[in-house]
């Protein structure tokens, strides 16, 4: 145990937070929220393409964490665990109200404006960002969520599999197809 503490003090700290949460200590939830709320919000925006649902899903994910904390495995990262909950909520919202992604025209409105580049560079980069967003929007919900979790949020395959209740082989398959589609769409003309 001591050796483990030296190697992964933060993980132990997180495990302690989750243990306290299962015992009903909501101050632990506040600490976890402070650490990861912004990560979860950004994940939801990436996974849905919508900023307007980010706060709601983030809220729901952290409230659901109280109940889900009973299933938490102390060997794994809390960040991945919460993002997994948010991912399930995104899928559920998608199934329930068909709201997860409104493509193309809406996405264009959400382009991030950057002012620190020359117009030519800005145009090239914005086109690339636009292609990425469009390509991501065209993926199925399952593939989009998987590739966002893996490539943008840094979750491992086993973490994604646990979060989405999938065999890890399914995760690798989805990742393979999603990455190939993104590469063809975003960088296809350059390679």
């Amino acid at each position: 145990m001591r050796a483990l503490a030296r190697e992964r003090p933060e993980r132990l700290d997180e495990a302690d937070l989750m243990r306290r949460l299962t015992e009903g200590d909501l101050s632990a939830l506040g600490t976890i929220y402070d650490r990861y709320a912004e990560d979860v919000r950004l994940f939801v925006v990436r996974a849905t393409g919508r900023r307007d649902v980010a706060d709601d899903v983030t809220h729901d994910a952290f409230v659901a964490l109280v109940e889900a904390s009973k299933r938490y495995d102390p060997e794994h990262a809390v960040r991945a665990f919460v993002i997994g909950i948010a991912g399930k909520l995104v899928l559920r919202r998608r199934r329930r109200a068909a709201v997860a992604f409104r493509v193309l025209g809406e996405l264009r409105d959400r382009l991030v404006t950057r002012h620190d580049r020359t117009p030519e560079v800005e145009a090239d980069e914005d086109q690339q960002l636009e292609r990425y967003r469009r390509a991501l929007a065209r993926l199925s919900d399952a593939k989009r969520l998987t590739v966002v979790m893996a490539d943008l949020e840094g979750l491992t395959g086993p973490e994604i599999a646990r979060a989405l209740d999938l065999p890890v082989g399914t995760v690798w398959t989805r990742l393979h197809h999603a990455r190939r589609a993104l590469r063809d769409a975003v960088l296809g003309g350059e390679t």
Partner: protein, 379 residues
């Protein structure tokens, strides 16, 4: 696919290759342009993807508001054992900051004969909107409750309904904004709250009494209206047992929110009385009463007494969900009473007890300010 090794490039990136396999792949990639391009493109795609969606940094206020909403919702959704055997249903409500007070109690047009099925709050999944931050719902230790909270937009208003089937909940409602409504719904009635401190009790799903501790309350039933002030109460009086039969047996559930019972169908009558003692559970839980008394002192401007009462509340109800609020309010009360040294002590006590508390920043500032100014005071 131009190279049969390309799947291994992704596998290597995902950490799926053993050390020996990785070294072998590295040697291959150095010699294979296709695999080199693939690896480069995967890196570029991740960079593009991370830039494709950006969020503005939320303000400190937004962050705190989000945090508080989560904590309140989580406190309201704490798991409880909820057998549906108890017949009595009562709701005790205590508000932290009572302002203008309007309570509308509208009994539904018809009684719903069939009770809804037992239902638990599906934390995090059912609500599509955040619950109202001005409303805090708690199941007190030793109590039980079978309820659900839901929020919806209705004609431009954000309406939260707490559907209570069985048990006891403690509700604190701060003053709601003009575009917010909070309604407690039982099988036969609904109680709309604007911000007050009051107790509502129900039995077997039926509204059974209202008593007001602060502000004013308006009870509406049919064409009867009665306003109750602090200290007043009313309770429905059962006129005859046979009159129970005058109410329809079954109505659609969505009619619960409309209209009121005509006087000639009513089986209850509004009767102003000085004190109402509901038959089985007349008083709120001791913790709620203690908290309410302390808040009353605070709102009355008796800051010294309020601080002392709140300190006793914290000491006596350490496990109560309001303990953190009370601990912080001790600081506020002491400051307002001009007892700055005691406020600093209370701030340090708050930080020691709730190191991750929602008000730790304010408490730290007060504690540190006093520490800095204390030496000057002694000079």
């Amino acid at each position: 696919m131009s190279c049969r090794m390309e799947p291994l490039v992704a596998a290597h990136r995902d950490g799926r290759l053993a050390a020996g396999e990785a070294e072998s792949l590295e040697r291959h990639v150095r010699a294979c342009r296709s695999c080199r391009d693939l690896r480069r493109d995967m890196g570029r795609l991740e960079q593009v993807g991370r830039r494709a969606f950006e969020l503005p940094e939320p303000s400190r206020l937004d962050r705190r508001r989000g945090r508080l909403e989560v904590l309140r919702a989580a406190a309201a959704a704490r798991p409880t054992a909820t057998p549906r055997s108890a017949r009595g249903v009562w709701l005790a409500a205590a508000a932290a900051a009572a302002m203008s007070v309007v309570l509308g109690v509208e009994l539904a047009t018809d009684r719903i004969a069939s009770s809804p099925p037992p239902q638990r709050l599906d934390v995090g999944l059912a609500p599509s909107l955040p619950i109202l931050e001005a409303v805090r719902v708690q199941v007190l230790p030793g109590e039980r409750a079978d309820y659900a909270r839901e929020v919806a937009f209705d004609r431009g208003l954000r309406v939260e309904r707490l559907r209570l089937w069985d048990g006891s909940v403690d509700v604190a409602v701060d003053a709601l904004r003009a575009d917010q409504r909070f309604i407690v719904v039982t099988t036969d009635a609904e109680v709309e709250v604007r911000g007050t401190r009051f107790s509502v009790r129900a039995e077997a799903g039926a509204l059974h009494g209202v008593s007001v501790r602060e502000g004013r309350v308006e009870v509406r039933r049919g064409d009867q209206h009665r306003r109750l002030s602090a200290g007043d109460a009313w309770q429905p009086r059962r006129e005859t047992t046979t009159s129970e039969g005058t109410l329809p047996d079954r109505v659609p559930r969505d009619r619960m929110t409309r209209g009121s019972v005509p006087a000639d169908e009513a089986n209850v009558a509004v009767a102003p009385v000085g004190k109402v003692a509901p038959p089985t559970r007349p008083d709120p839980p001791p913790a709620s009463a203690a908290f309410a008394a302390a808040m009353a002192e605070l709102e009355a401007g008796n800051y010294g007494e309020a601080g002392d009462s709140l300190q006793r509340f914290v000491a006596g109800h350490a496990d109560d969900p309001r303990a953190e609020d009370a601990a912080f309010l001790v600081i506020v009360a002491m400051l307002r009473a001009g007892r700055h040294a005691e406020a600093a002590v209370a701030a340090r006590a708050y930080l020691g007890r709730f190191p991750h508390g929602a008000r730790r920043a304010e408490a730290s500032a007060i504690a540190n300010r006093r520490e800095k100014t204390a030496p000057r005071a002694t000079e």
